[in-house]
């Protein structure tokens, strides 16, 4: 027990939680935005990989870090547009299209990476985002490094939670977005084109996903390798269900998962005699449990995965 207490008492753990959560927050908000307008985007895993590569490559070739984030967002939006064209006006299967985009975007990212960086024994690195010192409070004991000593994209992600929640619940645009995912016929009858709204929302959501990927190369690992997303995209898809499609709860879910992850990493190093794979499994198992509990109460957008065609019911 004292081992567990030691881990929980260490500032390093809590510092890591927000860091690990950041790409998940970006990704979860992206999925949430797509699904709120009624489109499942399983392209996320590939879009995150692509975003990670584009962000890294931009900075590696001399761009600054924010240019890298912006380039990643643009790349993500481009894949979002592809997904949107296939699923919205053409009404193709959202599962198949999404998985196809994941396969394509991941492979394409690696291909471009190999073209740009032909041979390397150890992957080349870039100078990453540095931890900030917000309000000069980073030196406070415990809360300082945890809350005020993170990198800039983490604060951007947190701000986006607030922005997205505001947009969805407080603005006419948000109401239209929700209506597009609940009953696009009703939206059309009120004179707003659901097709266009869905396309834009998917592009924006995909841009967020790609920024989550870019965080990995520009703030966490400093270099790109093709398997680095490691299922984070799929976790985001599950977290959105866990969050019942609400931005605030999505943040909570991302933090919860990140906590489990950070905790098991530390547990691995201090507990002997237990295969480390069991610890690796733990956050996923706990996520599944949380999902089962929460998903029962989730209110699914009624038109999720239903293509909209005018005049057809």
């Amino acid at each position: 027990m004292s081992v567990i207490f030691d881990i929980l008492a260490a500032v390093g753990l809590w510092e890591a939680v927000l860091r690990i959560a950041t790409p998940l927050i970006f990704g979860t908000l992206g999925v949430l935005l797509c699904e709120r307008v009624g489109v499942l985007n399983l392209g996320i895993e590939g879009i995150m990989t692509f975003g990670a590569m584009v962000g890294w490559l931009t900075v590696y070739s001399g761009g600054d870090l924010w240019t890298g984030m912006a380039a990643a967002a643009l790349g993500g939006a481009a894949f979002g547009l592809l997904h949107a064209i296939l699923t919205v006006p053409l009404g193709l299967s959202q599962h198949v299209t999404g998985l196809g985009i994941t396969l394509f975007a991941s492979s394409f990212a690696y291909y471009v990476f190999r073209l740009a960086v032909p041979v390397a024994t150890s992957p080349p690195t870039v100078e990453p985002f540095r931890p900030l010192d917000v309000f000069g409070l980073a030196d406070l004991p415990v809360v300082g490094p945890v809350l005020f000593g993170q990198t800039a994209p983490t604060y951007l992600a947190l701000a986006l939670v607030v922005v997205l929640a505001w947009v969805i619940y407080r603005t006419p645009l948000g109401l239209a977005l929700r209506m597009a995912g609940e009953n696009p016929h009703a939206l059309d009858a009120q004179g707003v084109d659901p097709i266009r709204l869905r396309i834009w929302a998917i592009m924006a959501g995909s841009a967020l996903m790609a920024m989550g990927g870019a965080f990995l190369t520009l703030a966490a690992f400093n270099s790109f390798f093709p398997t680095m997303v490691q299922g984070r995209g799929w976790i985001c898809v599950a977290l959105v269900v866990f969050a019942s499609w609400r931005p605030g709860r999505a943040l909570l879910g991302a933090l919860l998962f990140a906590f489990f992850d950070a905790f098991q990493l530390r547990l691995q190093t201090v507990v002997d005699g237990v295969p480390y794979q069991l610890f690796l499994m733990a956050p996923y198992l706990l996520s599944i449990l949380a999902l089962i509990v929460m998903a029962r109460r989730a209110r699914v957008p009624q038109a999720l995965m239903q293509p909209y065609r005018r005049g057809e019911r």
């Binding site: 407080r170 006419p172 929700r178």
Partner: protein, 509 residues
């Protein structure tokens, strides 16, 4: 009188099909115009063009003298045209207020102005007597309330011209009456209305003027005072339609007997001691206001529910296992109340739907494999014998119109020669031609010797087809009266539960 709306020379084709041909009609302020026509006559297409959902191939729409740009709903809304769709365009997960406000503000406004919206909505509810809780989720509303939300949505957009597409299709008789009273009230406040319908009763009762559409053309226009139901029926169908008459009954042995059936409500109303007998060669009509247990009763006889107590006897033998296959095996044919939800599976083909309930019989399967040829042949026979039009054996049944779907269901139920036929709301939502066909089939089954249990909210239908009538009120049945002695007043009293008043001479048969 000011002319608020004018459609001139509207023509619309879908491929080779002409949905509207050179249709012209107008609407004056404060008027209620009924657009009457059978299913497929082009009523909904015409209104969709007016509302900008479709673009017409030719013709113009003018609101207050100004021409509307084609194909833009926004323009129609801004010109003051509101449409209340037959299938409600509402989001069940959102609140009433959210549903109404969607799309009414500029999308890029940073905050939605909720309190102003709430005040405006409260004003409208007050003015027109349409009350709904603005914060309720639409999922929790009744059908009648959903329709009120749809109307409020149009009014919230400052509609002065309201188009209602088959507004009573999903309403009970009482709700429909209340709706028309509200609509009349609205015209008094300067609104003008068009409602689409194929029901002659409500057209005669509610409209000032009737425009009859047939085969995509306007075939007649009449002031309601200057016409009659019979004339309108003939204009609408294009020939004289007479509902078949009921020949005298020759009741035989008792085929179905219910003894004090009780079933506490499970998703429907309860049954609180239902007893009746049904003889071969007769039709027993059960009337009642919806929600009084008729759905439960139909489900029980069909094998969907088991009673908590009491007994159901088929030809003198008590049914002990209440399952659908047992009911079918006992010789009970079923016409379910909701043909889309319970009667058919939309994405399966006609033949699959036609044989599914008897798929285990040796006729349609052998050693666990479906005998497709036999099943298709049997279906083709139903299609031919029951005049099912609009799709072939292998088409998805979803493609059929309501009337044709009902004919297929009738054919499916009757081709097994049932001794008992349970028909729940058999002509709900059908047009005149289809109603006549359904009635003829029900009478045919009776003539062949089946006992028909007819459960319906349509008094005309019950009186036309039944030999005896009972009312169901609060899960209990009134005594039976011969339908020849029944009239609307007496049936009304029976449905209100005033049995003694209704029939001093009522005798339990």
């Amino acid at each position: 009188m000011t002319r608020v709306l004018e459609l001139r020379g509207i023509t619309k084709r879908f491929g080779a099909v002409t949905a509207n041909e050179d249709v012209s009609l107008h609407l004056d302020q404060g008027e209620i115009v009924a657009l009457l026509g059978e299913n497929g006559a082009g009523k909904t297409t015409l209104m969709s063009i007016l509302f900008g959902h479709y673009t017409a191939d030719a013709g113009t729409v003018r609101v207050d003298g100004a021409e509307l740009p084609p194909g833009r709903s926004r323009a129609a809304i801004q010109a003051g045209v509101g449409m209340v769709h037959q299938h409600f365009a509402l989001a069940p997960n959102l609140s009433v207020l959210d549903n109404i406000v969607t799309g009414t503000e500029p999308l890029w406004r940073p905050v939605s102005r909720r309190s102003a919206a709430r005040a405006k909505l409260a004003g409208l509810m007050d003015r027109f007597g349409l009350t709904v809780d603005p914060d309720a989720l639409v999922a929790d509303l009744s059908v009648g309330e959903c329709q009120r939300v749809e109307i409020l949505k149009a009014l919230y957009n400052d509609a002065r011209i309201l188009i209602l597409d088959e507004p009573t299709a999903v309403l009970t008789t009482q709700e429909a009456e209340r709706l028309f009273a509200t609509l009349r009230e609205m015209t008094g406040q300067g609104l003008s209305l068009i409602f689409i319908s194929h029901k002659l009763n409500e057209v005669m009762a509610a409209a000032d003027r009737v425009v009859v559409l047939r085969g995509g053309r306007v075939v007649a226009e009449r002031a309601t005072e200057a016409t009659s139901k019979d004339e309108l029926a003939e204009l609408m169908v294009g020939r004289r339609v007479e509902r078949p008459r009921r020949p005298p009954a020759t009741p035989g042995a008792v085929v179905l007997e219910a003894r004090d059936l009780r079933l506490s409500g499970r998703g429907g109303a309860s049954l609180n001691g239902v007893s009746f007998v049904l003889r071969s060669g007769e039709t027993l009509g059960i009337i009642g206001v919806s929600g009084n247990g008729q759905t439960t009763l139909a489900g029980l006889v069909s094998g969907l529910h088991a009673p908590d107590s009491g007994a159901l006897l088929v030809k003198g033998r008590e049914i002990t296992r209440h399952t659908v296959p047992d009911a079918i095996a006992a010789g009970i044919g079923r016409i379910p109340e909701d043909r889309h939800a319970e009667g058919t599976i939309g994405d399966l083909s006609l033949w699959e739907n036609a044989v599914l309930e008897r798929i285990w019989s040796p006729e349609f399967s052998r050693r666990g494999l479906v005998r497709r040829r036999a099943a298709r042949a049997a279906t083709a026979e139903i299609i031919k014998g029951y005049d099912v039009r609009g799709a072939g054996v292998d088409s998805r049944i979803r493609l059929l119109s309501g009337g044709n779907m009902q004919k297929l269901i009738l054919g499916r139920a009757l081709s097994a020669d049932p001794d008992i036929l349970v028909a729940a709301q058999p002509s709900r939502g059908l047009d005149e031609g289809a109603i006549a066909a359904v009635h003829a089939r029900l009478l045919e089954a009776r003539a062949r010797g089946a006992g028909v249990l007819l459960i319906s909210e349509d008094l005309d239908e019950v009186l036309a087809l039944s030999d005896r009538v009972r009312a169901i009120v609060g899960g209990r049945l009134s005594p039976a009266i011969p339908s020849d002695d029944a009239d609307a007043r007496r049936l009304g009293l029976m449905m209100a539960g005033d049995w003694a008043e209704a029939g001093e001479d009522a005798h339990a048969v």
